[in-house]
Every structure is written in structure tokens, then in C-alpha cells.
């Protein structure tokens, strides 16, 4: 088989189902979305991922990822 479809994974980002290329890291996701360098915080399956680990954190099938920002509030 020559026309192989690259493997993908399905995860949830902020509650929305996304299909991403296998091997995508958090750093890739943030870059692709235009969020790199912005003040965000990331939680993966309920655990905080420190900014320093984005590049080495590969997203796995079924992961639930939350990306948050500060907004106006009282």
C-alpha cells in the first residue's frame, strides 16, 4: 500500500473533538492554533502541564485538554 493515510488521534480540546496527526505535542497544538507565546495555561486529563513541558508532552488518543486564559471577571 503506497497511499497510506497518516495516522491520526482524536482528543478533546476545551470540550471539542479534534483530529490531530499522531505525535502532535502540546507545543505543536499551541503553535498551530496561534496560541504559542500567549499567556495560557494547559491541563491534560486533569493535571497541569507546566509550560516548560509543552514541547515534550505528546497528545495521546482520548486525551482531554483544557487551554485557558484570563478574561474579565469580578
Amino acid at each position: 500500500m503506497s497511499a497510506e493515510i497518516p495516522p491520526t488521534l482524536t482528543c478533546r480540546v476545551n470540550g471539542e473533538l479534534l483530529s490531530l496527526p499522531a505525535g502532535t505535542t502540546l507545543a505543536d497544538l499551541l503553535r498551530e492554533r496561534g496560541w504559542a507565546g500567549k499567556r495560557v495555561a494547559v491541563e491534560r486529563n486533569g493535571e497541569i502541564v507546566p509550560r516548560s513541558l509543552y514541547a515534550q508532552t505528546a497528545i495521546a488518543e482520548g486525551d482531554a485538554i483544557e487551554v485557558v486564559v484570563a478574561v474579565g471577571g469580578g
Binding site: 480540546v13 476545551n14 470540550g15 471539542e16 492554533r33 496561534g34 496560541w35 500567549k38 499567556r39 495560557v40 495555561a41 494547559v42 491541563e43 486533569g46 497541569i48 507546566p50 509550560r51 483544557e66 487551554v67 485557558v68 486564559v69 484570563a70 478574561v71 474579565g72 471577571g73 469580578g74
Partner: protein, 269 residues
């Protein structure tokens, strides 16, 4: 006339502040107005909410923190919208990461969407967890002196009872409960929620509260910048009046300020 002295600080955990007015950043027309109102309020502490970034968001869209740099203001992340201890704790862990390890936070765990009244059992559970994890917790709570004491004993750095419902602008509905709280609590007591206009803020401060937190009263005023200034003046006035110590109330006993003697046309005694 003496100026307010330089030793009157609001101490929250490890930090000291000169301003006793804390302001929210919600419900403004835009970020420029948010910033202008906060400048006019003189507030050093501003609350922010933590929310999911919009997946479809234009990456060039301005960000609240571009207008409120953390170097300039003490950002107080809140847990608005959280209904369980677990949600609140998760939100503040994210906030700590977002703000580079910042630990001063505003905990609020709501009971229902209609009243936004605090759910105290969940609030207590979250407070205990957060204190254990090293957060400096300022806590929105009911105006119940026993709950306030429990939160203080847990190690919260400020007790923030509601004056009336969040966003209601109904003012200080139960000054007697606030006084009960003030008599027992040693950490700062900050009225959070319900302030509608400047006199409400002044009343809270005259009762002996250590500060006032308000958002809607400023943001939803016809002229938010002017109301922000009014709130600053009211908090300063109320604080000075409390420190000055008001005269005792003397019901049914009038006492003129002018001399009783020397009125013209009277025989001298």
C-alpha cells in the same frame, strides 16, 4: 487637615497594599475602558476570571492581560462560575500556572445560578485543599460569622462576605452580621458583592471592614470612570471615618454645636 498616613496598609498574606478598593474587570465596554476605570479607582488588586480560550479565536485578538500587566497590578484570579470544590481547585491550579506561580487567589464556589449565593460546604472543602497546596486564599462567603471563623481557622488570608447578591447593587443589607464577623475575625474582612454606589462602599468601611471589592457598580454605571473615582473616594472616606471614630449616637437628646450663652436680647445669667 492631615493626609491619610503612610502606615495604613491592607495586608493580605505576604503582601501589603495601600488601596483598600479591589475591583473586577468584567462587564466593561472594552479593554481600554477597563484600564481607564481601574486607573481612576486607584485599585492595586484586580480580579480576573479563568476561561477556556476560544478555539476559533483570532490569534491577534487583544488579551485582557495586555491592558493589565501583572507587573503593574496584583491580579486576583477568581473561580467565578464554579459550583464544586473540585472545579474551583482545578481552576486555581490553572491560574497559578497562567500567572507564573502566583498564589493569591479569590475562591468562590457558587450554590446556584439564580442567586449566585455561595455553597459553603463546597467552599470550605476547596479552601482547605487550596491552603494545603500553598495558595493564599481570599474567600467569598455568606455573611455568617461561624462560617467566617471556620475559614479563618483553616488559614484563609481574607474573609469576603457578601453584602447582598452578586451584581444586585442592593448595598449592605445586613450590617449587623458584618459587625459580628468583624468582631471575631482577625484577618482582613473585605465586603465582596452587592455594593451599588459610593455610599455603600463608605458604609462598609465605616463599619470597620478592611476593604471593598466591586465590579458591576463601576462597570455598569453610566460613566464607569467617574464611578471608579467615586468608589476610591468613598473607600478612603469610610476608612478615615472609621479610624477617626464616629461620635456616639444620642437618640432623643439633642445637643447644639453652638454656645448656649450669649444669644442676643437675653438677660445675662
Amino acid at each position: 487637615m492631615t493626609e491619610p498616613d503612610d502606615t495604613d496598609f491592607l495586608t493580605l498574606g505576604a503582601r501589603r497594599f495601600r488601596s483598600r478598593l479591589l475591583v473586577g474587570t468584567g462587564k466593561y465596554r472594552d479593554f481600554a475602558q477597563t484600564r481607564a476605570a481601574i486607573e481612576a479607582s486607584g485599585a492595586e488588586i484586580v480580579t480576573v476570571a479563568i476561561r477556556r480560550i476560544n478555539l476559533g479565536q483570532n490569534p491577534d485578538e487583544p488579551n485582557l492581560l495586555d491592558y493589565l500587566p501583572p507587573e503593574r497590578f496584583t491580579l486576583l484570579p477568581n473561580t467565578a462560575g464554579c459550583y464544586t470544590a473540585e472545579e474551583a481547585v482545578r481552576t486555581l491550579r490553572l491560574a497559578r500556572e497562567l500567572l507564573d506561580g502566583h498564589t493569591l487567589v479569590k475562591l468562590e464556589v457558587l450554590g446556584d445560578a439564580e442567586t449566585l449565593y455561595p455553597n459553603m460546604p463546597e467552599t470550605l472543602k476547596a479552601a482547605e485543599r487550596l491552603v494545603t497546596e500553598g495558595f493564599e486564599v481570599m474567600v467569598y462567603c455568606s455573611d455568617d460569622p461561624i462560617q467566617a471563623q471556620l475559614l479563618e481557622e483553616m488559614g484563609c488570608v481574607a474573609i469576603m462576605p457578601l453584602a447582598s447578591l452578586i451584581g444586585s447593587g442592593m448595598g449592605i443589607l445586613n450590617p449587623w452580621n458584618l459587625r459580628l464577623i468583624l468582631e471575631r475575625i482577625r484577618v482582613p474582612v473585605i465586603v465582596d458583592a452587592g455594593v451599588g454606589t459610593a455610599s455603600d462602599a463608605a458604609i462598609a468601611m465605616e463599619l470597620g471592614c478592611d476593604g471593598v471589592l466591586t465590579n458591576t457598580a463601576i462597570a455598569q454605571a453610566r460613566d464607569p470612570i467617574r464611578m471608579a473615582r467615586a468608589m476610591r473616594l468613598a473607600v478612603e472616606s469610610g476608612r478615615e471615618a472609621w479610624r477617626a471614630g464616629r461620635m456616639p449616637r444620642k437618640f432623643y437628646s439633642a445637643d447644639p454645636s453652638s454656645p448656649l450663652t450669649g444669644v442676643i436680647g437675653r438677660p445675662t445669667p
